[in-house]
């Protein structure tokens, strides 16, 4: 308990000091709580004042002659009339519904409309010089109509209109767009008149009318937009929030010379780093929470939601559309097409009303999103702590932060811009991207337990590696004192000193390195339709290169003592006997554990599908290949990685029981399917314990091979209608295989053998492992 109380001491002190730092407060409180809302208000003000300026400005349009002027003025007046009529119809509809509907869709707030009074038409002194007048900027636009409006229209009813404008003058662009709109509207009116005259009724004008009614409630429609933006924003803010404390608590402490005083205090480096790490994660999460809160408030109370395309009310939009139609054509009669549009309309209205009664969407989703941010904050807290620990000064740390921030923000941005990317396969184990995708899924209300578990476990593994790395760097003498060599001495092999066993940081980092690669290979295997030889080759390559090759190479690079790191020694005779007992009973035991777990927590249909797919994949492989690639290779190679590197890296630092627990869980996490993790983790713990007690990697290899090999052989015998092995173990097989749970007495005998084997290991002395430095 003492170590926790000291971590707590460090945590409290660092938090106090951080909260007294103006820079942190700035990034944490001032920016989200004060700056964002102000910026948002300013932005809204700027937008509306820009629109106001556009609407209040006077525009000059030059035309060649008097006829042009009259022609254009008539069109402008007609447009005025129509706009007024539409507005009147809208007001009437609003009055009828008894609602405020000045701006039903919010679109008008962002649309400029110019009246005829603002547009002055002048006649050019020289009709041939219109281009030059516009180009010189003397007027905002020029209009030339052919045939000339002076010519009678009946002869040629169609006209070509040319609008001259200047791209560099913003007002010129406004009037250019406005003139286009007005002329299009005029064209529409002319067509309507012509058709009505020919057909005798305006009904023919609307052969197909569409109404779009989303069956998704408005808050969820809005959340779809937010799901693309908010995770990215939150990632950025969390990283920003973590940055200052991370720099201040490491490089800052070194710069101010307090690191030395901390290093001579009787506190292990791990506890100091743990306390600091806690503060960084706390500050990052508080920053995120404040940002999220501020964002929620800004979204709820400002008009920003309308800008983001949030449909405030589809029924209001419908009213507006009908109002437009009323002006354009005859009023809708009962049974007419316009009235038919109202089918299903009641459902939509009900949905909207129900949503209005509920709390706003953002308010309900915010806590879940915040929870999803915790693993991310943990990961980047760890990474920043590790990176900043390298820096000699605040400034240097700030430079190092740039790539770290990019590595958080760029994946988040890429994922944000690709709404069709799904949280599947290797992406589930890809740092940052997996968290961002998980957040998006949560935002949309999708909760998949396997995705959540994989994302959390992999993120925890990366974070643990980062924190362990930070601890290692933090305690390093090259980091403690500027004058001690260069950092190359930390990384180059020739400067490394031989070590008995890996550090926890080194072991975790090795595992974190091979985790995503393994994940990628495994998930590509299961989806591949390739033959069994490809499958075996892939498994062989993963096992030999990744679990054995990479691990042993890194052990060599770090000048680790191979014999100690991988426990390369023979167990005692008694431990051999115990091992053989466990070998005999391991398959019935692990099968029973698996049955028990599946009975207690029935696998989802998706998991069952995956299990079947996996069984099918194995069924085509000859028995020798199964034994070689799925029993012997993993038995040897995985033991080197998990019970070799990882186990010895942790054992001397966190004690037997915690090592057993961590090795088991990490071992389970490497087997990507959620339903497999718990049973495999339990077997992994057993293997870890055996390795620690016997001081040798051999018993674990034997048990591992037996567990995989005998199980697979028994399975394939069942498939060949030979259930003898399964019957020997008393295990259910074939059609009997259900997720019910009962233990055959025969199975109990085998489990008893395992228990006896473990008991022998518990009560015989542990093989002593020599320590690197002799005790005094």
């Amino acid at each position: 308990m003492k170590s926790y109380s000291r971590i707590w001491t460090v945590y409290r002190k660092e938090l106090t000091e951080t909260l007294r730092d103006r820079r942190t407060l700035m990034a944490m409180v001032f920016v989200p709580v004060i700056l964002y809302p102000i910026l948002m208000v300013v932005l809204m003000q700027a937008l509306s004042s820009e629109k106001g300026r556009q609407e209040e400005s006077e525009y000059t349009v030059v035309v060649p002659n008097e006829a042009h002027k009259r022609w254009l003025e008539t069109i402008l007046l007609r447009e005025d009339e129509e706009v007024n009529a539409e507005q009147k119809a809208l007001d009437a509809a609003a009055k009828a519904m008894g609602e405020e509907m000045a701006d039903p869709t919010g679109r008008a707030a962002f649309r400029t409309r110019l009246g005829s009074k603002q547009i002055h038409i002048v006649i050019a002194d020289d009709p041939g010089k219109i281009w030059d007048i516009v180009a010189a900027g003397a007027v905002h636009a020029g209009v030339v109509v052919r045939p000339d409006p002076a010519v009678d229209r009946a002869a040629d009813p169609n006209r070509v209109v040319q609008i001259l404008y200047s791209d560099t003058n913003p007002l010129s662009e406004v009037i250019f767009r406005q003139l286009n709109l007005i002329l299009q509207n005029e064209a529409g009116r002319i067509v309507r008149d012509r058709v009505t005259k020919l057909a005798g009724t305006p009904e023919v004008l609307n052969p197909i009318m569409t109404t779009n009614l989303s069956t998704t409630s408005p808050d969820k429609q809005f959340s779809k937009v937010l799901a693309l933006i908010v995770p990215f924003l939150l990632v950025t803010m969390t990283v920003t929030g973590a940055m200052y404390p991370a720099i201040d608590l490491t490089a800052g402490e070194r710069e101010r010379g307090t690191l030395e005083t901390l290093a001579v205090s009787p506190v292990p480096v791990g506890q100091i780093v743990a306390g600091k790490f806690g503060v960084i994660v706390t500050i990052a999460m508080v920053t995120t929470a404040l940002n999220l809160g501020s964002m929620t408030a800004v979204i709820q109370f400002s008009g920003i939601a309308k800008m983001l395309g949030a449909p405030t009310s589809a029924s209001a939009a419908m009213e507006e559309m009908e109002a437009e139609q009323t002006v354009q054509s005859a009023p809708a009669e009962p049974g007419s097409s316009a009235a038919l549009q109202r089918i299903n309309f009641g459902r939509r209205q009900a949905l909207e009303q129900e949503t209005n009664r509920r709390a706003g969407f953002v308010t309900t989703a915010a806590p879940i999103v915040l929870l999803a941010m915790i693993p991310f904050a943990v990961l980047f807290g760890g990474v920043m702590l590790a990176v900043c620990s390298f820096a000699k000064s605040f400034k240097e740390a700030q430079n190092y932060m740039m790539p770290v921030m990019m590595s958080a923000i760029v994946p988040a941005m890429v994922v944000s811009y690709m709404p069709t990317i799904e949280l599947q396969g290797p992406l589930m184990a890809t740092p940052v991207a997996n968290v961002v995708l998980l957040m998006r899924e949560l935002f949309l209300g999708n909760f998949r337990i396997e995705a959540v578990v994989i994302v959390l476990l992999s993120t925890c593994l990366y974070a643990a590696a980062a924190v362990a790395m930070a601890t290692r760097i933090y305690g390093n003498e090259a980091v403690l004192f500027n004058d001690v060599g260069s950092y190359k001495t930390l990384l180059l092999r020739k400067f490394m000193r031989p070590q008995r066993v890996p550090s926890a940081a080194f072991a975790l980092l090795t595992l974190a390195l091979i985790f995503p690669v393994n994940f990628f290979v495994q998930s590509s295997i299961v989806t591949a339709d390739s033959g069994w030889m490809d499958l075996c080759r892939a498994v062989g390559i993963t096992q030999v290169l990744l679990f054995f090759g990479v691990v042993v190479f890194l052990a060599w690079y770090a000048k680790l003592n191979m014999r100690e790191t991988f426990s390369l020694r023979l167990p005692s005779a008694l431990h051999w006997v115990a091992t053989l007992l466990i070998v005999a009973g391991i398959v019935p035991l692990s099968a029973t554990i698996q049955q028990y777990l599946y009975a207690t927590f029935p696998p989802t249909s998706q998991m069952q599908q995956m299990m079947q797919a996996e069984a099918k994949l194995l069924s085509g492989i000859p028995l020798w290949a199964i034994v070689a690639f799925f029993a012997i290779l993993p038995g040897v190679c995985e033991e080197f990685a998990f019970r070799g590197m990882l186990l010895t890296g942790l054992r001397d630092r966190i004690g037997t029981w915690r090592t057993v627990l961590v090795v088991g869980i990490v071992f389970g996490a490497f087997h990507i399917y959620v339903h497999k993790i718990p049973p495999i983790a339990i077997v992994g713990m057993l293997l870890a314990y055996v390795c620690i007690r016997t001081g040798s990697i051999l018993p674990g290899i034997l048990i591992h091979i037996a567990n995989n090999g005998v199980g697979l052989i028994a399975d394939s015998m069942v498939k060949a209608n030979d259930p003898r092995l399964m019957d020997l173990f008393g295990l259910p097989h074939g059609d009997e295989q259900t997720f019910d749970y009962s233990v055959n007495p025969r199975t109990m005998i085998f489990i008893a053998a395992v228990v006896l084997g473990l008991a022998i290991m518990v009560f015989t002395p542990k093989r002593p492992t020599p320590r690197s430095e002799p005790r005094p």
């Binding site: 000091e17 730092d21 005083t261 292990p268 003498e477 060599g485």
Partner: protein
């Protein structure tokens, strides 16, 4: 004859450099300090004093040799060794956003003192070092002297039997210098073993019981003042220092008209 509380035996530190050459910063340094003794570790810049002190404090891992602090090896029994040690250098800083009282409380907690013990110890230290005027102000706003007094209090928080002081008076005014030296002397009288490294040879001459002159990573002169005088044939510590470090002719050659006595004043105070 009291048992030495600090034992340094054949201490060696080799730093790797990126060019592949080795830099022998400390090369076989041995000495012992008894309780109540003030040991002066003196030498020119780059002689290896600070590296030696850092190895004694367990901040650096020695390439060879061993250290015993109150019977503990700082590389193995890290916590016990550090618990018996107070460490103070010119470069050690303070948490600028905490007050001296908060700094002392923090280190008291890290050492593992109970709340009541901490309060008493802090009050005592504030009284002894005359810190009450600034004990609750933020450290960032304190003067160099006030900071150094806080630092001394910090090093003494756990009342350790051994004190390592690397340039404790660097940059201090005469008054604070006096306070610090008096305090070191008083702590020595209270039975603490103190290792003092300083460039101010007059100060060292005044308060140290025993000396180790270190040059190029080796001890070139040892013993009390009388022994050093006998070894070098010089009287003042600054002269002894120059003589034993073999730099006297070196420094003075090519500086015409400078008398030996005057030139040594620059190295002392």
């Amino acid at each position: 004859m009291p048992e030495p509380i600090v034992e340094v035996h054949e201490l060696m530190k080799i730093f790797p450099t990126t060019t592949g050459e080795e830099k022998r910063a400390v090369d076989g340094v041995s000495f012992c300090v008894n309780p109540g003794q003030i040991y002066g570790l003196l030498g020119p810049n780059g002689a290896g004093k600070t590296t030696t002190l850092r190895m004694i404090a367990g901040l650096l891992t020695p390439t060879g040799g061993s250290v015993r602090l109150d019977g503990h090896d700082p590389q193995i029994d890290r916590e016990s060794a550090k618990r018996s040690l107070g460490y103070l250098t010119a470069s050690t800083g303070l948490y600028e956003r905490l007050s001296p009282r908060e700094v002392l409380n923090y280190f008291g907690e890290l050492i593992g003192l109970e709340a009541a013990q901490r309060r008493k110890r802090i009050d005592d230290l504030i009284h002894w070092l005359d810190m009450s005027a600034f004990a609750t102000l933020r450290c960032g706003g304190l003067s160099t002297g006030q900071k150094q007094r806080t630092n001394i209090a910090r090093a003494l928080m756990g009342d350790p039997p051994i004190l390592i002081m690397d340039e404790p008076t660097l940059g201090l005014d005469v008054l604070t210098n006096r306070v610090v030296l008096d305090f070191i002397r008083a702590e020595g009288a209270r039975g603490k073993a103190i290792i003092l490294s300083t460039h101010y040879l007059d100060d060292a001459e005044a308060i140290c019981d025993e000396f180790g002159l270190i040059h190029n990573g080796r001890i070139v002169g040892r013993g009390d003042l009388a022994a050093l005088r006998a070894q070098s044939g010089k009287t003042r510590l600054s002269e002894i220092f120059l003589k034993l470090c073999g730099e006297d002719e070196h420094v003075l050659s090519g500086v015409p008209g400078v008398a030996t006595n005057n030139s040594t004043e620059g190295t002392g105070r």
